[in-house]
Amino acid sequence: MTDAVIQLVPDPPEPAVAPGAVELVRRRVEGTYDLDPWGLDVDATRLAGRVAAMRWRATVSGIEHVPAEGPALLIANRRLGWSEPAVVASAVARETGRIIRPVGGIGVDPIGGLLRRLGALPARPDEIAAALRAGNLVLVPTRREPLRHRPGHLPIELLAPAVAARVPLVPVAVVGWEPGWRWSVQIGAPVVAGPPVERRADTRVDAREVGRVAVEVSSSLDAMLTDAFDRGLGDRLLSIVPGSRHRSNAVSAEGTGEGP
């Protein structure tokens, strides 16, 4: 297992479908490139993914937990920088070919427009609900957490749409150092609130259920981060960041009334 973890920088596989530059320009000129209601530009996102693969090189484990099709909500820990959503998006896209829709970012144009073109969604429950109904993989980062071994608080209100729609919530532990290029992405087993349902009338949100799912996701994140640092992975990736022992307080009952 240690050997597998030590291999931090595998050769990234070639993208499954890589339209050539001429094809990309042709689509641009003819206006036949794909957009979605939130402004996602598929060609531009694939192109950005290639650039991201040069900037961040991540090992991925547990990729089988990401559904090959259909909606899912990924919840990733985040520290003080901006890299985690990009690392997860580029790693999952590389492994599965699916485009990740990170939640958040600057909402003001032109930067907001650029981020939306690359797949970003507004941090609003209604937009997340609509994106999930459209079958997207949505990535919700936790609140910023300066301590590397803690997952950070979960934004409960952004998890609620996934719980209401009974789509899988997939915890993702991201370990790395902001200026660094070596990262580790561990994907945990999905947490599902109940059997999938189609009809919106059946998708009422139960606050207790949201709290229970949030605690479960947070515990899973906490366990994965603890495991990563116990194995020394963090020290290899975060070579100049001082380490500390782990203490679990991921979801301090934010809106749930319960601890993990």
């Binding site: 000129v29 003819e30 206006g31 036949t32 490139y33 957009l35 979605d36 209601p37 939130w38 402004g39 530009d41 144009d109 032109p110 427009g113 073109r117 507004p122 609003r124 209604d126 937009e127 609900a129 609509a130 994106a131 109904r133 459209a134 189609e198 009809r199 919106r200």
Partner: protein, 346 residues
């Protein structure tokens, strides 16, 4: 068309109503039957066995030949005539399509007045409808508005905060009809359509996209969805049968940006920024495609909605994609001049 006196007309309609009441079939009243959408709905209803009689009113005659449906010309606000028609016909289902999109058939102020008067006269008349079972209202996703902080892809539960004249009129109509329906105890289905377009559908957006040069936002690329007039008519017919008491978004699959819409038809997109839109609006108006505020908003802020609820409650959803609708609009033939030989077109 045979001209009838008011009494003859009332007698005929009353006789038809009495017959259908005895056999339990539907009697459908369509306001706005003269428009493209109203005509398509009437033609579809004519083919259904469960529909016994169809009566339509509008300020323009239907755009195609109707076999069974009966049309009555009325001016917007002519409540007396509408009351008489409703009282004698006694509809079981009302399809209220009398909402006039600015610069589609009427200039914005007249369109707004006509929509308001059509709704007021209809609701006044419906007080006389003893057999009314349900109402279907044509609305639009313009009711959600595109103000700062508004949802990009709203579902039916999103707050309605319209930011255009057309959106405000549609919302006012929804509220007026809902208020009446509550008091009458009948369900009302608000069908919130994306901008309706198609080969024959009069639409300010379609006229704009047919210009040789189309103004598009210079920096951002907001997207919009459309719905084909034929698909819209199918959804209305489904809503007539479903008798649901809720709002339903009706949106075609896929979205396009203004740039894409221009390029799909080989038009030249002209980037416009900020105050340049005031100039662009004047120029396109002179070119024959006036730009009402809701279309301007669509171009610069986008317009889409989550239409996934439609299939689950009505059993069908639009199938023609937004891209195909734009292609259809763009491929409409322009004026073709024939060579004249001996006084006849060659």
């Amino acid at each position: 068309m045979v001209w009838q006196t008011r009494a003859q007309r009332a007698a005929k309609v009353t006789l038809r109503a009495a017959e259908s009441a005895s056999n339990g079939l539907m009697r459908v009243l369509i306001t706005g039957m003269g428009g493209q959408l109203g005509t398509l709905v009437a033609r579809r209803l004519e083919r259904l066995d469960g529909v016994d009689a169809i009566v339509g009113i509008d300020l323009d005659p239907p755009r195609r030949r109707l076999r069974r449906a009966e049309f009555h010309w009325t001016r917007p606000g002519d409540s007396d005539t509408v009351v008489e028609i409703v009282r004698s016909f006694d509809p079981t289902v009302v399809v209220h399509l009398g909402q006039f999109e600015p610069h589609a058939r009427l200039v914005p102020d007249r369109a707004d007045r006509a929509s308001r008067h059509a709704t007021e006269s209809l609701l006044t008349a419906l007080a006389q409808a003893r057999s009314l079972r349900s109402i279907v209202v044509r609305s639009g996703i313009e009711v959600y508005g595109r103000g700062r902080g508004a949802s990009i892809c709203p579902d039916e539960s999103a707050p309605a905060t319209p930011t255009s004249q057309f959106g405000r009129r549609l919302l006012a109509t929804e509220r007026a009809v809902a208020s009446f329906a509550r008091s009458a105890g009948v369900p009302v289905t608000h069908l919130r359509f994306a901008p309706i377009a198609g080969f024959h559908a009069p639409s300010p957006l379609a006229r704009l996209l047919k210009l040789q040069a189309v103004p598009v936002p210079a920096i951002t690329e907001p997207t919009f969805a459309l719905v084909h007039a034929g698909d819209a008519a199918d959804v209305i017919v489904a809503a007539v049968h479903a008798e649901r008491d809720e709002a339903v978004n009706v949106v075609a699959p896929g979205v396009v940006s203004a740039y894409q819409a221009a390029r799909i038809g080989g038009r030249v997109p002209v980037p416009v920024l900020g105050p340049g839109w005031a100039v662009a609006r004047r120029i396109v108006e002179v070119a024959g495609a006036p730009l009402p505020d809701h279309v301007h908003e669509l171009l610069v802020r986008g317009r889409s909605a989550d239409g996934s609820h439609c299939a689950s409650v009505l059993g069908l959803a639009p199938t023609t994609s937004t891209r195909d609708i734009v292609s259809e609009i763009q491929q409409q033939a322009g004026v073709e001049f024939f060579e004249v030989i001996d006084g006849y077109a060659a």
